[in-house]
């Protein structure tokens, strides 16, 4: 299958000679060997199974939502059931899928491999992170299936603190627990990147996926505790009746929104930064090019991580905050869009004079660039104060953030999963099925969410279980798109599992990629490298030209 005969330069010239056939999968057998493993690759697979299950449950909730919206008065659910369903969808997808998925699955598997390390800095903490995640996940599923909660994933007070009669506190505890899993993962990644880089792996030779995980980890570490505090304060008010958010008790309901979005806006970048990292890895490989503007792409990641902390109140332009605060947050929101624009331009420029092949990962990544660009551009509408007032809390917002989180994060994750699948499993997935799934997801996504922009501008509010009849046609279109999307997601689930048994062997480097992870066998041996590689160039030397010696 190697049709790429042009020369490329791997990041290291150290030859790996593994013991034949011995790898992290077959090194030990039995449930115990998985549940007590400290191998980052095995933990990544534990996460893969867990977050995929959560994705399926969250996806089923989405299916129910879309089906119920087929008719103006709700097709089959009561108002309360509908409210619990969209709450379940939001909580599961945000806190249990989108936040952990790329760092915990692909990041966990690849971070040590990409920097030439044998494991993360704290392997046992890594396993603990997974167990903590599982406790949080089990608890939230118990809450959802034993009666559900109806606050929305945003938990706005005073609804959550005094009006809701559902299990708000257990749900909050479950989310806070999952938050600790994020904090530990972030800490582990930061220390690993600082201390475990292979000889010669300088900061500016780091693959961009590593940089993006590093920036993400900073956010995880700094923002998650604020969410924990916010949820804790709601619990205090609910249990002890101490007035923090309820004005009847002397509290301020809008204070909660400040705390909540101080986490949840940066959380958007927790979800999308690692996705951007994947894009840089895949696009360079399938265009056979150096990334265009490496230092600018890195600076953009760090810029997003920093400025992302300064825009939270753009979620509150109609919440009665001061006009001057709104002006500042609007301007800062425009500023945070610039690094994302820089990235899109650099990816596009990377294609220039490339040798582009349209394998499945590349199709997903091109899909990402298209959808993420549209998601980002519609964000400019929301940052404009006077226009935000009209579209705030409508389907325009729903469409916008699904473009970023599903069109962005999930597309890139699927691209990354296909790209590294041969490395993770040692098997190739079926290429034509892969391409079909990428196209179905892309077009299904557009059909699902483009009508929602129109609905939003028409004024359909979010979280409406029933709506005026003139909104029906667009809702039906959206549900039709969602059914295509569902098929698109079901396909990879099927053929990737199929490939575990029937897929052809991948070999160490099926894409002829340059990164360190491709210079060790597939699947990698337990300790990743027979010999620690020595890095002597940057991560994307795909061109046929001589690499100039930087001199050290």
């Amino acid at each position: 299958m190697s049709t790429i005969s042009a020369p490329f330069r791997p990041q290291s010239s150290v030859r790996q000679t593994p013991t034949a056939g011995e790898n992290y999968v077959n090194a030990a057998y039995g449930t115990r060997s998985w549940l007590l493993t400290t191998d980052h690759k095995r933990i990544a697979l534990l996460y893969l199974v867990s977050v995929s299950s959560m994705f399926i449950i969250g996806g089923l909730a989405a299916t129910l939502i879309r089906l119920n919206l087929l008719t103006p008065n709700g097709a089959f659910m009561t108002a309360d059931t509908y409210n619990k369903t969209f709450t379940a969808h939001g909580i599961i997808m945000v806190f249990y899928f989108l936040v952990p998925v790329i760092p915990s699955v692909l990041g966990n598997f690849l971070l040590p491999l990409m920097i030439g390390a044998r494991d993360l800095a704290f392997p046992r903490l890594n396993l603990a992170s997974w167990y903590i995640y599982m406790v949080g996940a089990a608890m939230i599923l118990w809450v959802i299936f034993s009666g559900g909660i109806d606050t929305g994933w945003t938990f706005y007070t005073p609804f959550s603190s005094k009006a809701s009669h559902t299990d708000v506190i257990p749900a909050m505890i479950a989310i806070a627990i999952a938050g600790f899993s994020s904090i530990f993962t972030g800490l582990n990644f930061i220390v690993t990147v600082h201390y475990l880089r292979a000889p010669g792996m300088t900061w500016f030779r780091l693959p961009l996926f590593v940089w993006s995980l590093y920036a993400t980890s900073l956010i995880l570490l700094l923002a998650t505790p604020v969410l924990t505090v916010a949820l804790f304060l709601v619990a205090v008010e609910r249990i002890f009746g101490i007035g923090i958010f309820d004005p009847a008790l002397g509290g301020d309901p809008v204070l909660f929104q400040h705390l909540f979005w101080f986490y949840s806006h940066p959380a958007v970048y927790i979800m999308v930064l690692p996705a951007m990292g994947i894009v840089s890895e895949v696009i360079t490989c399938f265009a056979r090019k150096n990334i265009f503007g490496y230092p600018f792409v890195v600076a953009a990641s760090l810029g997003i991580a920093v400025v992302g902390f300064l825009v939270w109140a753009h979620h509150m332009f109609v919440a009665g905050q001061s006009v001057y605060a709104a002006l500042v947050f609007s301007l800062l929101s425009y500023c945070v869009a610039i690094p994302s624009a820089i990235k899109v331009f650099n990816w596009t420029a990377t294609l220039y004079r490339g040798s582009i092949s349209f394998r499945t990962p590349m199709l997903y990544i091109l899909g990402f660039i298209g959808l993420f660009t549209l998601g980002g551009l519609t964000g400019l509408f929301l940052a404009a104060l006077g226009l935000n007032v009209h579209v705030h809390d409508t389907y325009f917002i729903i469409a916008h953030f699904h473009f970023i989180m599903v069109g962005g994060t999930v597309m890139a994750y699927m691209g990354g999963l296909h790209y590294w699948w041969p490395k993770i499993t040692g098997k190739l997935y079926p290429e034509s099925w892969g391409r079909i799934s990428a196209l179905l997801i892309f077009f299904g996504f557009l059909l699902t969410f483009l009508p929602q922009f129109v609905l939003g501008y028409l004024g359909m509010p979010r979280r409406y279980f029933a709506y005026p009849p003139e909104f029906q046609v667009l809702n039906v279109l959206s549900t039709a798109g969602a059914s295509i999307l569902a098929v698109g997601y079901a396909l990879p689930l099927t053929y990737l599992i199929w490939s575990l048994r029937y897929g052809p062997d991948a070999g160490p480097n099926p894409w002829e990629a340059t990164g360190l992870e491709w210079q060790t066998p597939s699947p990698p041996p337990t300790h990743n490298f027979a010999e620690i590689p020595v890095v002597d160039c940057g991560p994307y030397e795909y061109s046929g030209e001589e690499v100039p010696d930087h001199g050290h």
Binding site: T3, I4, A6, D80, N83, T154, Y156, P158, F159, K162, A163, P247, P253, A287, R288, I291, F292, G293, Y294, V318, V323, A326, S330, Y334, A337, I338, A341, F345, T348, A349, G354, S355, I356, S357, L366, T373, L377, F381, A383, A384, L385, G386, N388, V389, H392, D393, Y457, L458, G459, P461, R462, R463, Y464, A466, P469, E470, F471, V473, S543, G544
Partner: protein, 333 residues
Amino acid sequence: MPSPVELFPARAAEIAYHVDALFFFLLIVTGIAAVGVFTLLIFFSVRYRRRTPPRPTPRITGHIRLELFWTTTPFLVFLVMFWWGARIYLAMAQPPAGAIDLYVVGKQWMWKVQHAQGQREINEVHIPLGQPVKLTLTSEDVIHDFFVPAFRTKIDVVPGRYVYEWFTPTVAGTYHFFCSQYCGTNHAGMRGEVYVMDPADYQQWLNLKSEGSLALEGRKLFLQLQCITCHVAGPKARAPILESLYGATIPLRGGGTAVADDNYIRESILNPQAKVVMGWEPIMPTFEGQVSEEDLIKLIAYIKSLGPGQTPQRNEESVPPPPPTETKKTESP
């Protein structure tokens, strides 16, 4: 009724024209950006697709001037968007003087609307064409949001405070309004219609629905709650007189000043110790739990209307104060 498929919302308020103009500006600018990026992506994808045999690619690592160009250009365009959006937002935040006042109380799951002349309605709002209308809104329980798509405006209705929203209707007709802040079970049912009427029809509607004006209702409450026991002129006064209070800047006990707006008066009734007027003792009891949100609006309307010399006489001095639940019909001359 509207046609079965709508693609663009009705536009029926002055500000809506400005919002739509900004919307189309953004649509055009972002459209150009999207078409530009997608054209390049597709062009590169076709032009530089992999050939057989593959050709080696050049080693291109970046271009500083290009980076500067595509960093500063978006920034300048964004500044225009920011400025334009801010202008509209500032206009939305400043209700014009002389607007028709409407008072709206949201609760799970209905909207109660009171007109200055006392007309009340539920989940319906009748307003005249061509005149600015100012809503003063609050909530009895959780956060709601009053959203009129045809007017392109909304505001979160937060319990415990007053918020404001205003618009000048430009086209007669019937328009939806929605609660757009999730508020529990029947959030989706918390909606209604705004009727924009010809001024003549509106006047007729007002006459048909006429009851005692809000200020008059407030006056009754003022007497009934024994406010005049203390808030009187002369030597018997134990609290400041409230004539011409509304909108005034008042000095506070312990330093500082406050503007006597709706939120200040509301707070002074529910939590009198919070901001005591300079020169008076903090002796007023709280009325928290005794006056509903709607009664508060009536009291404030009365205090607003109270001109010099209009405080009622304390003509029931000798009568012992009745328990607060008992209705007292006594009127001063």
